[in-house]
Point group: C2
């Protein structure tokens, strides 16, 4: 078994270090291939996602991605490596679960899963500007909408509540978001056991704030999925806890939802839970090792219950100390 590790920039390096240590403990034979990507890489080499990194990701079929920084202004030749990686590996579905953890800060009884389309929408990078007027293309295809919808329905069918809510803004975008909605409904026809619903993205934001417990699976185009998953992370104690897994044609990318957090980078205080929970998703969904995934998730829950946590959660543990505590918990 091989894992391509792309630590990236800032706290990406700190949290992947811990996640790699824990994965190696759980999977003794795991081969780790470390590769670079991100803003530092771009500044040094002129490309944010080197060929060697992409080739290794393809070969390993499993990627652990930390986080990358982006420039504040448009820089010629720079494109977000994580967006490029998701597309290049055809990881067309981004799974972003929110489950309540034993923490005072978050809302209780959350158990929702956002399935975010990962390859198109406004993320295709087709923009133009003459300095006065700028346009960007939002592209939605039936193909991409159906394939992400299948993943979402497949997962919804295996959950207790078997509910799926399609997110769109088809009152304003009847052709693009309407296509997404209709393709999703068509994909759902094969899953009669799943109750399908739909909501405008603005209404979904409101309902998530008011009654997030009512949601089971949410299926969203790329950009709405981006916004709503941060919103959901906010309901659950913040980005330090929010994992994700991008899946598609046999390759998976585990990736914490948080960014490179330049403000706290290098201090050893970043919360590794999001990276660890992303690693657990890799164990569960990609390597089909649910027992190990359960063990890792339950170790994290036990530590948090015991008040062992990083500073963002009001605790005193360093990134590495939390990692060591997870290893100790797993070794019990």
């Amino acid at each position: 078994m091989r894992l391509c590790v792309i630590a990236g920039d800032g706290i990406g390096r700190e949290v992947t270090e811990v996640a790699v240590e824990v994965l190696t403990a759980l999977l003794p034979g795991l081969q780790i291939m470390e590769h670079e990507a991100g803003w530092d890489t771009f500044c040094r080499t002129g490309t944010a996602l080197p060929e060697a990194t992409l080739a290794s990701a393809r070969a390993c079929k499993a990627v652990l991605f930390g986080a990358v920084s982006s420039p504040a202004r448009k820089v010629e030749g720079y494109r977000s490596p994580i967006v490029a990686l998701r597309r290049a590996l055809d990881c067309y579905a981004n799974l972003r679960p929110t489950r309540s953890l034993p923490l005072a800060a978050g809302r209780p009884d959350l158990d929702l899963l956002i399935v975010r389309e990962n390859t198109e929408d406004l993320y295709i990078g087709e923009e133009q500007s003459d300095g006065e007027t700028a346009t960007a293309i939002k592209r939605i295809t039936r193909h991409a909408s159906m394939q992400v919808a299948k993943v979402a329905f497949e997962l919804a069918a295996r959950r207790a509540r078997q509910r799926l809510c399609i997110i769109h803004k088809a009152n304003i975008l009847p052709l693009t978001d309407g296509l997404f909605r209709d393709a999703a409904r068509a994909a759902g026809a094969n899953y009669p056991q799943v109750a399908v619903d739909e909501l405008l993205v603005d209404t979904a934001a409101l309902r998530l704030v008011q009654a997030p417990q009512a949601f089971d699976v949410l299926l969203a185009p790329n950009l709405y999925g981006d916004i709503l998953s941060d919103l959901a992370a906010g309901l659950n104690g913040g980005l330090g806890l929010a994992p994700s897994l991008s899946v598609g044609q046999g390759v998976a990318i585990a990736e914490p939802v948080h960014g490179s957090a330049p403000d706290i980078a290098g201090q050893g205080i970043a919360n590794p839970v999001a990276a660890l929970l992303s690693a657990a998703m890799l164990l569960r969904h990609h390597w089909q090792l649910p027992v190990k995934a359960d063990a890792l998730e339950s170790a994290i829950r036990q530590l948090l219950s015991a008040g062992i946590a990083t500073a963002d959660l009001g605790g005193t543990a360093s990134t590495r100390a939390f990692g060591r505590a997870v290893l100790a918990q797993l070794a019990r």
Copy 2:
């Protein structure tokens, strides 16, 4: 003084009835011109926004808009009349305040204002589809960005905290959202007293959930403003309380953020507070009658404090009963 009233569909009719009664009490000489728009109008006449309605809105310079229903699927010839009205009247800035009300349901100490660009972005209606691939154009101009930014900075300069946060997704959309951000920053140069900040829209959603009290004015492109203002309404007890005012070149549209709510329409139980607070915005910002605006807002607050409220807030008042209570409170 004249007011063009466009009640629209569903509960739009019920809540505007109350708001008109209250405005008439506050402004004895007010002339009310009732006009139609919306889905019912489209079904009957083939146009959702008749010329006579638009002409009256232009002539009155002040509009009270209720709510309209939209079809679930694309209907040839139908376009959202409220979006068309905002553009036709060049009401380029949509002011969406969230202030805590004396209610157990909402978060305390909220006092933020979302200023939403109101004429472009993905709302321009330029979509194409061949059934398999659909595209929509997101358009951002320096002109529209600057003019909405000026409104936002002007309002921020008059607020206690004098802070303004620009919302964008320029890491993915450096040309369009980057233009919005840069134009906003340029407009801000004339307001050195206002502290300017920026946030990615996903991060803004997270922070609004975690610490909404930290926000003062948020300036957002059309779609992000739509999503974030519903989120903010969710923090504050729901859409039944969220007002808005669209302003621009001398014409103003007061409009509750909620929709036509077909599920409760016709029952007389809709919450008229959002429409009443929108009317108060018209009094304050458009007619420059802050004393009357204060009186109306404080009447609403007093009723809510006393537990007089509609069913969505756990009360027993009907729409009309709440309206009568406001009139009684104002007459004291």
